[in-house]
Symmetry: C2
Subunit: 186 residues, 2 copies
DNA sequence: GTCTATATGCGGATAGAC
DNA sequence: GTCTATCCGCATATAGAC
């Protein structure tokens, strides 16, 4: 499979699966958008679920890169901790912007998802948890893990709010997060 | 359609759709659990989506009733405002407990859901918003709407966290909410 | 009113040509 | 390696008997 075809397939998969829903998107729609045929897809991936998992994996790598860039742009520890909200904004308004969260969406669609998809969701959660904890450590020290758990709740809430209200602004979550950080500092 | 058959159909729909996913659950599975046949289902509802919408409607009424009961049990204004978390716990561990949130789940599955389903989701959100605002009014007065928006974020975050970690405890959300209330009071 | 049996369409996946 | 054409199964919905 040529690299460009593979990339187009993943692009199309990401765009359609994570905005319209996975089950609601037939592979034919992905193929049409990618300009590829079914045989080409199934040459690279054994099943539709494998394509979903591959799209999630690539998305996760790009999300972490976006987040890293936002962290590095901040001058102080608290800014770096709250940079996750800049990243949410940036990722959303960028070319990879989806309706809400690709990982939560994949988890929501099937109680028994394939092992690969389930692993991708778990990885996303653990990445958020561990990175938030590390970023919180210089800010609140021993409370880092507890604060990270609170921020994970707020991040997930921001993502879920996009389902309730497509115009939902990340500013609310950032404001709530700031209050939670301040509370632990005091 | 006999009332008991109708109730069994809604029970089965609720249990399966909102735990395993709507698209992932064929109507046959609902029929098998309800002990009814396809003809009986389609006598009462024109489409599968209509059954989903009916199950959401009934669930919404019962959720509000559960919430009301938790509010009434509280002795003070702050307790009544935070009673939404008691209700989340009670609803979850009761017989209607689902994997996460039936309304967010329905919204997640299709970008273009049927008008009835979309309306049910919107109703759920607006109910949360307006009731939280009303309950916040005696606690923080003019800040009620702003606080309600924050609490809606936290409630949605608690629900989304259930997807990330099935054992997620509501206590975290309640604690965060308490801090947000305290901040607005001061 | 509920059943059995079935029509109908669509989605995932494959075979075989080029 | 990619395409065209197609198979096969499953899911929604209906027809007609009891």
């Amino acid at each position: 499979m040529r690299a460009t075809t593979e990339a187009r397939l993943l692009d199309a998969a990401e765009e359609l699966f994570f905005s319209r829903g996975i089950a609601a998107t037939p592979v034919d729609a992905v193929l049409a958008r990618a300009g590829a045929s079914a045989a080409t897809l199934y040459r690279g991936y054994p099943t539709k679920e494998a394509l979903v998992a591959a799209a999630l994996d690539r998305r996760h790598r790009d999300w972490v890169a976006t987040w890293d860039a936002c962290v590095e742009r901040q001058p102080d520890d608290e800014g770096r901790l709250l940079a996750v909200f800049d990243a949410l904004d940036a990722f959303r308004s960028g070319p990879r912007g989806a309706r809400w969260c690709a990982f939560l969406g994949a988890a929501a669609e099937h109680a028994d998802e394939s092992a690969e998809v389930a692993a991708a969701v778990r990885t996303d959660t653990e990445t958020l948890r561990s990175r938030l904890t590390a970023l919180a450590e210089p800010v609140v020290g021993p409370d880092a893990a507890a604060l990270a758990e609170e921020l994970l709740l707020v991040v997930s809430g921001d993502l879920a709010m996009r389902l309730r209200d497509p115009g939902h602004r990340t500013a609310l979550a950032r404001e709530v997060a700031r209050a939670l950080v301040a509370r632990r500092r005091a």
